[in-house]
Symmetry: D3
Amino acid sequence: MANFGNMYGPKFTFLGIGECDLDDPKTYQGADVIIIGAPIDSGTSHRSGAKFGPQAIRGGDYLPHDGERPHMALRTDGLKDLKVLDAGDLLMPGGDLKKSLEMLAVATEKISRAGIIPVILGGDHSIASADVAGIAAHRGLGKISMIHFDAHADTGDSQFGALEGHGTPMRRLIESGAVRGDKFLQLGLRGYWPGDQTLKWMRDQGMRSYEMTEIHHRGLNVVLDESFATLTDQCDGVFLSVDIDVVDPGMAPGTGTPEPGGMTSRELLEAVRRICLELPVVGIDVVEVAPAFDSADITAILANRVVLEALSAIAKRKSGKPYSPTQNLLDR
Amino acid sequence: MANFGNMYGPKFTFLGIGECDLDDPKTYQGADVIIIGAPIDSGTSHRSGAKFGPQAIRGGDYLPHDGERPHMALRTDGLKDLKVLDAGDLLMPGGDLKKSLEMLAVATEKISRAGIIPVILGGDHSIASADVAGIAAHRGLGKISMIHFDAHADTGDSQFGALEGHGTPMRRLIESGAVRGDKFLQLGLRGYWPGDQTLKWMRDQGMRSYEMTEIHHRGLNVVLDESFATLTDQCDGVFLSVDIDVVDPGMAPGTGTPEPGGMTSRELLEAVRRICLELPVVGIDVVEVAPAFDSADITAILANRVVLEALSAIAKRKSGKPYSPTQNLLDR
Amino acid sequence: MANFGNMYGPKFTFLGIGECDLDDPKTYQGADVIIIGAPIDSGTSHRSGAKFGPQAIRGGDYLPHDGERPHMALRTDGLKDLKVLDAGDLLMPGGDLKKSLEMLAVATEKISRAGIIPVILGGDHSIASADVAGIAAHRGLGKISMIHFDAHADTGDSQFGALEGHGTPMRRLIESGAVRGDKFLQLGLRGYWPGDQTLKWMRDQGMRSYEMTEIHHRGLNVVLDESFATLTDQCDGVFLSVDIDVVDPGMAPGTGTPEPGGMTSRELLEAVRRICLELPVVGIDVVEVAPAFDSADITAILANRVVLEALSAIAKRKSGKPYSPTQNLLDR
Amino acid sequence: MANFGNMYGPKFTFLGIGECDLDDPKTYQGADVIIIGAPIDSGTSHRSGAKFGPQAIRGGDYLPHDGERPHMALRTDGLKDLKVLDAGDLLMPGGDLKKSLEMLAVATEKISRAGIIPVILGGDHSIASADVAGIAAHRGLGKISMIHFDAHADTGDSQFGALEGHGTPMRRLIESGAVRGDKFLQLGLRGYWPGDQTLKWMRDQGMRSYEMTEIHHRGLNVVLDESFATLTDQCDGVFLSVDIDVVDPGMAPGTGTPEPGGMTSRELLEAVRRICLELPVVGIDVVEVAPAFDSADITAILANRVVLEALSAIAKRKSGKPYSPTQNLLDR
Amino acid sequence: MANFGNMYGPKFTFLGIGECDLDDPKTYQGADVIIIGAPIDSGTSHRSGAKFGPQAIRGGDYLPHDGERPHMALRTDGLKDLKVLDAGDLLMPGGDLKKSLEMLAVATEKISRAGIIPVILGGDHSIASADVAGIAAHRGLGKISMIHFDAHADTGDSQFGALEGHGTPMRRLIESGAVRGDKFLQLGLRGYWPGDQTLKWMRDQGMRSYEMTEIHHRGLNVVLDESFATLTDQCDGVFLSVDIDVVDPGMAPGTGTPEPGGMTSRELLEAVRRICLELPVVGIDVVEVAPAFDSADITAILANRVVLEALSAIAKRKSGKPYSPTQNLLDR
Amino acid sequence: MANFGNMYGPKFTFLGIGECDLDDPKTYQGADVIIIGAPIDSGTSHRSGAKFGPQAIRGGDYLPHDGERPHMALRTDGLKDLKVLDAGDLLMPGGDLKKSLEMLAVATEKISRAGIIPVILGGDHSIASADVAGIAAHRGLGKISMIHFDAHADTGDSQFGALEGHGTPMRRLIESGAVRGDKFLQLGLRGYWPGDQTLKWMRDQGMRSYEMTEIHHRGLNVVLDESFATLTDQCDGVFLSVDIDVVDPGMAPGTGTPEPGGMTSRELLEAVRRICLELPVVGIDVVEVAPAFDSADITAILANRVVLEALSAIAKRKSGKPYSPTQNLLDR
């Protein structure tokens, strides 16, 4: 399996954690989580640049890159209390998106079969069609549910005449049976796409899609409560897909298709924490960070924090220790 | 009437809609809405740049510029369910602000008399003194009320010794009788201007001005509820004026006089939707977008969405179909 | 005492107010507040640039720099109803941080002894160890309490092997007795620093530290209510320290160690207002504004507004007039 | 043939010239030049973003977009004295680079067969392998020579394991016989790529490659003189390929693989003028403009000027009128 | 006469020199040079922003703002060996360009009549029509010659239908007789404006306009040599007008109408030095610095250096001491 | 000896070369060159940010970071034909500049004693006082000569009252005898600092300082020819110190004290090549790269190329093979 270090720019790991080689199982024996980069942006329908996302997310932090990150609120260290390794970037040339995606599916299947949670750093959202498919190939079609944060439904039938693209991955996953439509939850949708026909298709699949107005009026926690039962019923694992554009462009400008009116970063971090504390997460991707459009790296740093929030909460869940968000930090 | 295509840069229409020529009524027969650019920034008291606002707002969208925009939440298409045309920019040289504003008033009066809603893309806020005046010239002095989103009251007596300027348009409209002071609603005010004397003048006119602290403590919907009765009583139309600086500079940096502590973009979009769903809007302007200070075009895209939100809600209102913000997207 | 005008760039005062010379008491006789710049950033652990903070905060405003700022909501003018002077920047070379901090402590002690409130414009947060110490030297160890807005606790034992640095000032203040640990309140903490050992030390001192999740779930006003009694019990003055990174990087990108998930600027301004209205503030610093990373100056303008909000509220408190945040602006 | 208007963003033509439809020969009858966009960047080996090049080059001008551009020095109007039309962008999705390039080759062959000079706006340099091939398909293998401005030789054997990519087009053209190696001239090379093996291959083909040091020491005009005879001997047309990164990154930062030490923009413009005045140019591409990395649009404007310089000189050459660079402007 | 301090932003003088009040002759008695800001940009035909030019030029320097600047090569101090004062900005609102220009003409006439050289910081180039006219009103029509650095001829008949604008000032000056056409020298012209008719008018006036190609081929010093005799014959003073866009946009991006292919900053500085050393300069303006488009302030700093270069050379000329550019610095 | 990996941000080596540990001689046995970072900027007199220089220079390249760089013009590989290792950054906290510099001197002495050329990546120019001193401590006072590219002489007596600072290192080196004044060559000086007294001191030391005007008029190669004999007479090694601000800010904006009118990047690269081909270079530093002010990383990439140019030429010199700049690339 082609493992190319970091495909663009200097080679370093996520915040200084250890590295592993997907072609050499010894190097990742006993790991809980493997981080892997999917540096491709030829699936974008507008601004490119997300191929530099993995690099930016790995390095997006002002603290020493020492492989430690004690989480202040959860009082756990997602990088130390779990064994987390970085496999570098897959070699995913943009010119042949289909082939690059196939390689990614092979990689996540391999990681999943080893009993390890893959965390994929995108890249544009076309990668979700592959990274989730790889895990489903291991766990069984329809056996994992999906919780998907995004401004966009990504359920297009095709994009520029092709099946692959960042507007279509969720359609591909449901069509292939990898994820059942009625086990597919979306949060943060808004804006002017897709049109009626696609929305009808989504309803027909039994999807549950919350757009921002509903979240604004009903509250994010109410919406999450409503969904959690569904996600675990008949499924034994949950995949968390975070398109950074779910956050308002004011707080996350470094992305390719910014849609105003999104969540705050606080809301996203709180939601990710709850999901990873309460649900059996089996894979994560964080996508659509395009550093060329960022301002002072704030989007990259936010994406880095989404990964850390997830890892910290997974570690906390594993520890079995209690957590209350209203308890004072120094009393925990 | 001078119609100059787009005054600065390439010529294209708002998201690819059809164009019309204000000098040729045949070209806009049957239209519901005409979009027109007012590319002037010599009314600014600080940073200039808003003359590129019309260009930036027309093009601020990552979706195909194909003249269609199905609104996900409202399930209507503001560009298709209404007949919306773009008349290009008026030729408004900055060096003679007064004359340029007079031309704008002529244009909005003409559009209004044709039974069409003008949507004016600024430009700095000095244009409001003209675009509203033009509509009032058609509908009658005091017959339209005003709902005005802004960090600033814009009720100055004069600016640098002149009557025209982006700090004075609301004073001009009330003084001329175009809009009655007690039918003038302001939301989002904050900061350190104007001083006591002007505030006293505002109170004497019967204006209703909500600053951010009050909105923060009482809630935006409460404030809107309180106002809607007033706005339609004794008036047969409402003008909606949106200064993009009503939004916090963190989310809308691309503007000339940024005042911290503003609304979120989500709040502005929700408010615009409610207004256009519930009130008889007869004209709209969206002003003070200054692309040179923007970050990744997020302010321009937000202003584009304000226009689309308004058009979508007007189309929804026209359709007479019900809408509930808490109903799930896929159940609508 | 070295008084160097503005250390970097052109010399001008905070929004055009009068200037004074710390070496010449006549020049600040009768003053209520003295603003002073502490232009140093060699205490940073990551991005430098905060040494340009004083310059950026002084000038971060689009209104005329005329020494007047009527506060719209409070109906008072913090620059006119108080006597506020600008002493320029202290000469604080970065190469000898310790010596530079000593000079700052001398300056704030001098100002405090003159019965004047010092407002220090940073500079990185290392300056807090000195500016608070100077005031405590006048008022007595343990006689002032501290309310500290920050993403970070700043209670590190050492930084790069040194006692000085922007990660350690709060430790220094408690260790020296300048501020009692149980009179030390922190708001806005989040992220991945410090680790357990330091948190234990903080608990042992009796500190009260609210991280963002707790504030998010319990509400900012609830948290403030809980704290105010403590702050004034047994202390006769409160120092307010605002690290601008307490605000979400989306709204305040111009800082050195941005941690996602922070307060909105609205929340910070409301909190500062309440504190200065309700508590006997004896000193203020506003730190960590790094203009090189800012976007359209929005962070600098926000910091300017934090200073003005504080001064306006102090003036209001001094006036003894009532204020209700839910009363309409034009009824006040 | 797929003609998609402008693939990304608003639709408008190069500086307001007329448009044509490649599928409808009537629309471009009698044209001298057709401009066409090739908006693809999945051939890049590093920063993407060049897919926005066509848009940026078309609109990169502060003058009115009125389809006129009188050249001050040449006293001719490249847009009026020639018939120049804009065919919009080809639909070139990034995910299937090979297929997209094939479409481009079909387009340039079609234009060339109609006796019209195609001017292709890239896009990354992978497009040269197709746009030149299309012309060669019409004019005959080996019948056109190549003059290529670039920091890089672009003669790689493969890129990320694929034949297509912006590092390989010149190899493809020579291998296929489209252009003879000994009729292939390169100017402006520098830096650290390719290695010995590729350089040997280049020498073996009889290529003539001038790196910047040689140009710096011998002079650009000397080098051009030396080459012109070769270019027209045994060939009946010359293709001009301009990678904007031939210019120093200081003057053209908006590109994906910036290599310091390049030409000044003045030198490039003078060279382009000479070439189009003195040689029978049959096609042109201008590539690697990546707006996301630009500063105040200076790179896009430079690329726009390269196109205009070429068109103006072609018009001048066609007019048969004399031109001397040392004669005063007002004496011409 | 209205003197408004600095019209936009904080008040400070050019590099810390003393200030004067144009309404109070005592304050500028004995001065050699008065610097005055003309902060207006409503004469622009494209990007605005030059109204912040005076502020940016005054402060564009990393050295202490202490009113001293020893010129390394000339071994003179333009700010100390001459008496140079800063009169602040004129109050020039953009909305009435004509009136604002009239005020400027009054100011420069006043300064000139006092025997002082006015140095005007623009603002857009429309100001030249006024600042030169003011000096000519004092010295007599046709008695001063003009040396004008610019990418553009600025000899348009009208702009957007008005006589005022940054495309027309040189026409106005010649038409009014303020400057004789045959005493009007232009350097650095290039690009695609104006057209034949205007060029014919320029030739008819006897103007001498050097475009970049001629300068490139003949050499800047040759061109300057050719011109100097003309400039002083029959005239007793020379006005130097520097539009910063004469420099290549790569080196001076912060301007409104950037035209590629310009001079280097080194060339401009050398030319300004020679002019002020060898000719009797009676006025200077430096225009079209638009900070919003600048990169790291390099354009503002360059403009600051143009002013200093001129003042230093004027001081050197006044001293009568010899200067040789090839003599070593430490031997001077 | 403290070796801290990379002090700020992710850890990686210069373009992927091998790493070594200064505390473990085995790790650098047989090395020709050791690269080491000196990430400090508290010696700056204006903008900070250079502490991120080492990181930016190491990673400033679009080619794969694979530890190879075949130089196209010289036909040698500076990273392969020499043994080059990266020792990471020294731990140099900004708050105690003096102590940090002492550590650097120890490091370069150690490297030099091991017979290895140190290449120091700054950091601000204060580091030169230490890195050169360290080498001189090994080779003997006055035994190495200095060739120094800079806009500034850096010969100040003190800075903000301290001996250390980026304005004083050259004074320190001469005063201490580390480098003889008459063996100290400077190129590229310009601007308005220092004043007469310091220039007199420089002359008294026998320094040879070429400012830009002299270079402009006499030619860079002439000036270099004149100097080379001096540099090697009585000295057995040459230290090359490159302050990136020697290049015009237009081409190298990412620096702290930009002075217009500098060299082009082409000129700097050619000069560095000649120096390293013709002189016995024993140490190099490249300083004052401040990424926060850069545009598209062009300054960092230029600094990276300065290092590579030097290494390539050292390798070429070592190989003993001939080189002619006018010979064609493919004939070499």
